[in-house]
Structure formats: structure tokens, C-alpha cells
């Protein structure tokens, strides 16, 4: 397992995303508030670039007509057939127990601690003053 520095915190605003390649895998890095999450950029349905889809909310209705918008900005909708996935876990809404997009461990670390290594930073220049998004893979 290696720590890969994939982005600086500053370059991804809340509600934003960045698609990066780590060890040949495309991973979508999403920022929800101050939390970062990583999802494979490949839809478990038929392989669409999942992380390029629209970031949406979770629409629910305990009863017909009783509409509620919940968890704004926490779902990603596949660009091909519109299945919805939970950005935090990769679980699909339609079949949460068996249809799941792979989620990756994503952490935020200070450049100060990173410079002691070991880490791989092919995508960003690490400086001690900044904080970074790190994927362990």
C-alpha cells in the first residue's frame, strides 16, 4: 500500500470533484463540505465513467406526494443510465447490497507530515504549507 498525493485541498471546492489516475485506475475525488471521498470512475452497471455524472441529492418520499430533498450533493448519477450512487459509500440506490461502485480510502494530510514520506506525488507538487488529499492504494 502506498500513499498517493492526488490533489491539494485548495484545488477542490466543496461540491467539486477531480478525476485522477492512480496506479492506472481512474478515481473520482469528491469533496462534500470538508470531507473527501474517492470512487472508481467506472459504473458497476456497464462501465460508464461514473464520476463524470451529475452530482445530485437523494430524493425520497415516505408517501406518494410527500416529496423530500435529502442529502444534497451526496449522490452521483451515472451519465449513461442514470442509476444513483452514494458518493460516501459507492452503494447504489436501486440495489445497495449487490450493486456497488468501489470506494477508496481518502484522507487529508498536512504537507508538513507528508514530506517525511513515504508517498507518491505524480500529480501535485507537495509543499509544507499546504494540505493535501491522499489516496492509499
Amino acid at each position: 500500500m502506498t500513499r498517493h498525493v492526488v490533489a491539494s485541498v485548495a484545488e477542490i471546492p466543496s461540491g467539486g470533484r477531480k478525476i485522477v489516475t492512480v496506479k492506472g485506475r481512474e478515481i473520482g475525488i469528491f469533496r462534500i463540505g470538508d470531507d473527501f471521498h474517492g470512487l472508481i470512475n467506472r459504473c458497476p452497471h456497464q462501465g460508464a465513467p461514473l464520476c463524470t455524472g451529475e452530482i445530485v441529492s437523494r430524493l425520497v418520499a415516505p408517501m406518494p406526494g410527500d416529496y423530500r430533498l435529502t442529502r444534497p450533493g451526496e449522490m452521483i448519477r451515472c451519465p449513461w443510465h442514470c442509476w444513483e450512487f452514494d458518493i460516501r459509500t459507492g452503494q447504489s440506490l436501486c440495489d445497495p447490497n449487490s450493486v456497488q461502485a468501489r470506494a477508496f480510502d481518502v484522507a487529508v494530510e498536512a504537507g508538513k507530515t507528508l514530506v517525511d514520506g513515504p508517498f507518491v506525488a505524480e500529480l501535485v507538487q507537495v509543499s509544507v504549507e499546504e494540505t493535501y488529499v491522499v489516496v492509499t492504494l
Partner: protein, 368 residues
């Protein structure tokens, strides 16, 4: 366990679809309110038989040749029905579904008046005369308000076990205008029976009016698909979690493919109907039942086995003879090829589970 010949339902079977026929509109006159009796007589409506048959009067399917009557439409004599069916197959219960022009009238009030008369008639001339008989409440389907009134009028009589609708009415069945009917039915433990048929003013095919009976009959399954899709999508089963729906004379083979399509499409457009939190197939398996005759069986037995697997539930099929319509000869009311282990479920357990007003206490395994 008593042995019974293949094709014959086991003892205690519950026949979930038989069709007593109103012999003529004159027969309903004593059961009409004074006002509506006079209305009908002034218009001369008693001379019309107001039947709502989809088939030409002489079509073989309307009545098995050995069940035809010297006078009156097939199914219009209780004594004949007892001889032809009840005393031979000896079901513990048989559920009467009257299909009549009352259900398709444009005037909601006339429709309601005739439905009241039919319900009074079936109670006095059939239910009161044979303890094995049960009946569906016929209602004016185009007025939820009047339909609910009729359900409330009769619900105390537990021999009424279901509310009857037709699959193709003015609106898709799931629409909220119809919900008062479902609310009343659910409150009283009455399933909604959806019988094949329409108001005859909407084409039975989504593509318009067909030229031939062949197309018309086969297209009826579209009406059922639309009904199921509508009930599920509108969230009727979310709103009324205790409601059961029985598709009557729907055939069965179209259902698995229709559900695959429903599930698949739901995955992509789920957000539009956010009340549907589970795969539609799961909802349908819990809430929807289908009567057996006329069974659109696949040509070969292995295919039938596959079909039953695809249905994915052994609780969905309900035995029915569809008396007096001609789907079988002799007493072989069960289509061939059904696995023996399903018989008890189809004929007894599933109907009991569906129709909560039927009590197992009355079911005896009488040797023949």
C-alpha cells in the same frame, strides 16, 4: 391426504372466479330503488340485457356446450351451476364475479343504481341460497365517491369478499382519484379484483382499435400490464400496505417479462417516483395475485416450469374455473402440467391468504 385425479382441484379448493349472469334486466327490477325502477321502465331499459360481454353471444367461449341452458345466458341459473360445478368439484367456496353493463355506464348515478341492484340480487338469489358462494361487490368504477358508498353499504356482510373493477376504465387504475376505493377496500379487508375488460369506449390496444377479435383478446393483457404499472408507480401499495389486488382472467405469461422491464427502467428513473424504494417486482409479488383460468400456458411443460420459476413466488396463483366459460372439459379445471406440490397452495392456501374474509374452518377435506 385424499387422492384426487390430476386436473381436478383438491378437496376444499376455493374457486376464485365464477360468473353468475344476470338473466335479464327485468330480473333486477325488484332489487332496484323505486326511483331507478321507474327510470329504467320509462326508458324501456328493461328490454335491454345490458350485458358487457367482449365476445359475440354465440361464441363457444361464452359457455361450455354442456353448460348451456335451455333459456337465459350461460351462468344465469344457480341450480345449473350447482349441478355443473359446485356439486362436482365441491369447492369449499366459489367467488361470484358479475360482469355487467352497470360497470361501464356513462351516468355515474345509473351505474351506481344498477350496481346496487346487482349486489342485492346476488345476495338474495345466490349467496342466501348456497352457503359455498361468496361474491365481489360491483361498484360504479367511474365515481370513487359512489363506489365507496356501495362498499360501505355492504362491507358488514362478510360473504362479500372483494371489490370488483375492470382493467381498462376512464383512467389508469393507480390514479389518485381512485384511492378512496382502495382505502375503503383495505379498511374492510377486501382485495380489489381487476377483471379483464373495458368500458368499451377506449381501445383495448395502446395502438388504437383493432379490426379483429383475435387482436382484441390478445391485447387485453396490455390493459393488465398498464394496470399493474399504474398501481405500482402511483404508489398505491405504499399508501395502502395491506391492499391485495387480484388480476382475474389476465393470463399469467406476460407478467415476468413485464416485471423485468419495470425493474430495469425503475433503476434509472427511480427519482421520479421516490416512494418506490424497492424493486417493483418485490412489491408486485407481495400485493398482486392472478387467477388461473383461462391459463395462457406455454406450449411445453418444461417452459411452464420455467415460467413458474420466473414468477418467483408460489403465492401468486389462485385457482379459478371461470365457470361457465369454456376452458376445460369434464372436471379437469386445473391446467395440465402444474407441479403437484403447488396444488394445495394454488387451490387453498393462496386464496385463503388473499381473501382474509374466508375462514379455513369451513374447509373440510371431504372424500369424493
Amino acid at each position: 391426504m385424499v387422492n384426487f385425479p390430476a386436473g381436478r382441484p383438491p378437496p376444499g379448493a376455493i374457486d376464485c372466479d365464477i360468473h353468475p349472469a344476470v338473466p335479464s334486466t327485468r330480473a333486477l327490477l325488484p332489487y332496484l330503488d323505486d326511483y331507478w325502477r321507474e327510470h329504467i321502465l320509462r326508458r324501456g331499459l328493461e328490454q335491454e340485457n345490458l350485458e358487457a360481454s367482449s365476445y359475440p353471444a354465440n361464441a363457444a367461449i361464452n359457455g361450455r356446450p354442456d353448460w348451456r341452458l335451455p333459456s337465459g345466458p350461460p351462468g344465469s341459473s344457480l341450480a345449473a351451476m350447482q349441478t355443473h360445478l359446485l356439486d362436482r368439484l365441491r369447492p369449499s367456496y366459489a367467488i361470484c364475479n358479475v360482469i355487467h353493463g352497470a360497470q361501464v355506464m356513462l351516468s355515474e348515478d345509473l351505474s351506481a343504481a344498477l350496481c346496487r341492484a346487482i349486489n342485492n340480487w346476488i345476495r338474495a338469489e345466490w349467496l342466501d341460497r348456497d352457503p359455498r358462494l361468496r361474491a365481489s361487490i360491483v361498484v360504479p368504477p367511474h365515481s370513487a365517491e359512489l363506489a365507496v358508498e356501495e362498499i360501505e353499504r355492504l362491507a358488514h356482510d362478510r360473504r362479500f369478499v372483494q371489490v370488483l373493477l375492470l382493467s381498462m376504465a376512464e383512467l389508469p387504475l393507480g390514479r389518485r382519484q381512485n384511492w378512496p376505493i382502495y382505502r375503503a377496500a383495505a379498511e374492510h379487508g377486501l382485495p380489489i379484483g381487476i377483471h379483464a375488460g373495458s368500458s368499451f369506449r377506449h381501445p383495448p390496444s395502446a395502438g388504437g382499435w383493432p379490426s379483429y377479435y383475435l387482436e382484441d383478446y390478445v391485447s387485453q393483457s396490455q390493459g393488465f400490464q398498464a394496470s399493474v404499472n399504474s398501481l405500482v408507480s402511483e404508489g398505491v401499495f405504499v399508501k395502502f400496505p395491506d391492499l391485495k389486488v387480484v388480476l382475474i382472467e389476465s393470463g399469467v405469461t406476460w407478467l415476468p417479462a413485464s416485471l423485468w422491464r419495470l425493474d430495469k427502467t425503475w433503476r434509472g428513473v427511480r427519482a421520479e417516483v421516490p416512494w418506490l424504494e424497492e424493486q417493483p417486482t418485490e412489491t408486485v409479488r407481495r400485493h398482486v395475485r392472478l387467477t388461473l383460468q383461462p391459463f395462457d400456458a406455454p406450449p411445453a411443460e418444461p417452459q411452464l416450469k420455467k415460467l413458474l420459476e420466473q414468477l418467483g413466488s408460489d403465492r401468486m396463483l389462485l385457482f379459478s374455473s371461470d365457470y361457465p366459460h369454456w376452458h376445460y372439459d369434464g372436471d379437469d379445471a386445473l391446467p395440465s402440467g402444474l407441479p403437484a406440490e403447488l396444488m394445495q397452495k394454488i387451490c387453498v392456501e393462496n386464496p385463503l391468504e388473499t381473501y382474509s374474509r374466508l375462514t379455513p374452518a369451513d374447509i373440510k377435506e371431504t372424500p369424493r
